[in-house]
């Protein structure tokens, strides 16, 4: 007789796609899957296991989709994360999603209400991607996803935002190779898509290398672009956000901020390590590894923080 399955990560990630798709359909909410298995299927990301499911939700739909997920046992992960202490630096963090977890599902659901790097208004970005959506088979059924060029834009922005990661550098390498193979018509189409979504400038390093025409669109907010550039320049430096915040914080408040920077809450620390037990040794090891990374990157972090402040309007 069938028994209840203890899901593996890969199974959870795949099955969560049609689950979310069904819940969204029932609630009348438009969603698009981005990154993960759908991007791999469309050739916009190298094949590798995912540990989370990325969903772009239409503006105004997040609350209802979150409630539908909660009715199935999913709950928000670490709603009060460490970022609440980053007031000034938050402009460079591009908060963009809410994470959901479930005791029986070893994967995160990452519900995006926006995607950093698209500088057009959220409604326009979603509608543009929705109008050209694809359906990709995941866990035996088709689910709505950004089409190939939409995935290229999303994966490209994600990789450029945190380009210090080796995996994301591999993503950029694959995208460059894939873009080189595109027909002139497809390249022009990508140019129009990036112009419509305000990502021509943010994706410029990728587009130029692949000889994709960089079209100027309506959405060229210089301040948004400046923040994006500060973020991409400092993303590989673990301490930069805290140091940017520290520089903007009055002296009496600095000791408390340093304390929060040094001692992340346990759930926040574990949130990046799905499936690992919360025993104190594990937490201590993660904390120590974080301090080591911070110490190594401190000089570069100080430079990045100073540069960000100098570039303030």
């Amino acid at each position: 007789m069938p028994e209840t399955a203890e899901l593996r990560v890969s199974e959870a990630v795949e099955l969560a796609h049609p689950l979310i798709s069904r819940l969204a359909e029932r609630e009348g909410i438009r969603i698009l899957f981005v990154k993960g298995p759908t991007a791999v299927a469309l050739g916009a990301r190298p094949p590798r296991p995912s540990s989370d499911v990325d969903v772009l939700c239409e503006p105004g739909g997040m609350e209802r989709l979150g409630a539908a997920l909660a009715s199935c046992g999913w709950r928000r992960r670490a709603p009060e994360g460490a970022n609440k202490h980053l007031v000034h630096a938050s402009q460079y963090l591009f908060e963009h999603s809410t994470h959901y977890i479930h005791d029986d599902w070893p994967c995160d659901l990452d519900l995006h209400y926006k995607f950093p790097g698209f500088l057009a208004p959220d409604e326009i970005v979603f509608d543009t991607l929705w109008a050209r959506r694809a359906h990709v088979a995941v866990a035996s059924v088709p689910v709505p996803a950004a089409d190939q060029l939409g995935q290229v834009a999303v994966v490209g922005l994600h990789a450029l935002r945190d380009s210090g990661s080796g995996l994301l550098a591999a993503d950029l390498g694959l995208l460059q190779a894939a873009l080189a193979e595109l027909s002139p018509e497809a390249k022009a189409d990508l140019g129009r898509l990036t112009a419509a979504t305000g990502s021509s400038e943010t994706l410029r390093p990728l587009l130029e290398r692949a000889h994709v025409p960089v079209a100027t669109g309506l959405w060229n907010d210089p301040e948004a672009l400046r923040r994006w550039r500060v973020r991409t320049a400092s993303s590989a430096i673990p301490t930069s956000s805290w140091l940017i915040e520290l520089r903007a914080t009055r002296w009496p408040r600095r000791p408390a901020l340093v304390w929060h920077a040094l001692f992340l809450p346990r759930d926040v620390l574990l949130s990046a390590h799905v499936g690992e037990g919360p025993d104190w040794r594990r937490v201590a090891r993660l904390q120590a590894a974080r301090w080591l990374r911070a110490a190594r990157s401190l000089p570069r972090g100080l430079k990045a923080a100073s540069r960000a402040d100098r570039e303030l309007p």
């Binding site: 007789m1 069938p2 028994e3 209840t4 399955a5 203890e6 899901l7 890969s10 199974e11 795949e14 099955l15 049609p18 689950l19 069904r22 819940l23 009715s71 199935c72 029986d104 866990a139 035996s140 059924v141």
Partner: protein, 101 residues
């Protein structure tokens, strides 16, 4: 052929999604997502699930399972019938009268 297990054809329920890595199959019934718990099929159970995709006739399903595990069909027919009825009880498969050519 009066037993409905034999008289009818077996089909996967349309609300069921699944992942099959060749070793095991995990099913999820989305008819009521709040109630749906992933169900695991391995070994002959997974073979039955795969077999009803190719043919909805129980004799074909029995032949597939028997062939794969090297046993005569009459030795496994009771177990396979019971298994299909259990899947039916969970809403994972359903029966429909066979369409004869």
């Amino acid at each position: 052929m009066t037993d409905p297990t034999w008289r009818d054809g077996w089909h996967r329920a349309p609300d069921v999604v699944f992942v099959d890595d060749g070793e095991r199959v995990v099913l999820l019934n989305l008819r009521d997502p709040r109630e749906g718990r992933p169900r695991l099929l391995a070994g002959p159970a997974a073979t039955v699930w795969r077999a009803i995709e190719r043919s909805n006739l129980i004799e074909d399903v029995l032949e597939t399972v028997a062939g794969q595990f090297g046993v005569p069909t009459h030795q496994i027919s009771i177990d396979v019938e019971a298994f299909l009825r259990a899947l039916e009880g969970e809403g994972l498969v359903y029966r429909r009268p066979r369409v004869r050519p």
